[in-house]
Point group: C2
Chain length 149, copies 2
């Protein structure tokens, strides 16, 4: 399903369906995450026992409407960058076999009003480098590596 | 070559090499375009006779450092949205057969400092929907369709 995203509810329900198919693990690597529906879906997966890990951008996670605080309070592990540049990825990996990536940040604005694209791919050739990038970032953003000055 | 992007010159030269392989056509659909090196590459292709078409976001094209004005002055066709939402895509299509897409806007900030990904794909299955989306946007943003109020 490689597809530019139609706007609005249709694209949201397609994305929700993909996410809610997760049975074991969900890696999320998102510059901006403020969609309440997608936030609730991620919390539901966490409660079902799916191992959810979230990486996000430090500058954006505190903005009004961000879901990141809610996810943390629900007990989901979140890590963020500690750099000048943005953590600008917008991808998720379901059960280590399905990659969801594109231009879309998980915000209501983007889903409803923007021109966006989302690719869904299950070929290991595409999934593997994104999984590797996630693990690299996950370690790099481990709080034990923080530098204080 | 599906790959999260290493930062800096390496990723820029890889992207330049892909672009400069264009012989007939180049479609560019970019939220933000301010990299001088990538701007010069696009102008070079235009001078070589490659048919270059650019779609961009209205709110971002006028920002300081944007390449859009320079491209227009060089005689390259540019169209932009006339909407409230963002034209948030970040893709290019070389010779109607190679898709370059991901999280990367063509800005020096993104290339040098951000965590980004760029996918390069030649399967028609992936290229076709993006070509279709480009043609759809190209017609939709045709100035003859502007509404004034």
């Amino acid at each position: 399903c490689p597809c530019p995203l139609p706007r609005g509810d249709c694209s949201l329900s397609r994305l929700l369906r993909r996410l809610l198919s997760a049975r074991r693990s969900l890696e999320i690597c998102l510059f901006a995450f403020s969609s309440p529906q997608l936030g609730r879906a991620v919390q539901l997966l966490h409660r079902r026992g799916v191992r959810v890990r979230v990486v996000t951008d430090a500058q954006y996670m505190g903005l009004r409407g961000s879901q990141i605080g809610l996810l943390r309070r629900a007990g989901i592990q979140v890590r963020h960058d500690q750099e000048g540049g943005y953590m600008h990825h917008k991808f998720a990996i379901v059960d280590r076999r399905m990659l969801i990536t594109g231009s879309l940040n998980w915000t209501t604005q983007a889903i409803q009003n923007n021109r966006e694209n989302v690719l869904v791919m299950e070929d290991a050739e595409y999934v593997k480098p994104f999984l590797d990038e996630f693990e690299r970032i996950w370690e790099e953003y481990n709080p034990i590596n923080y530098t204080f000055f």
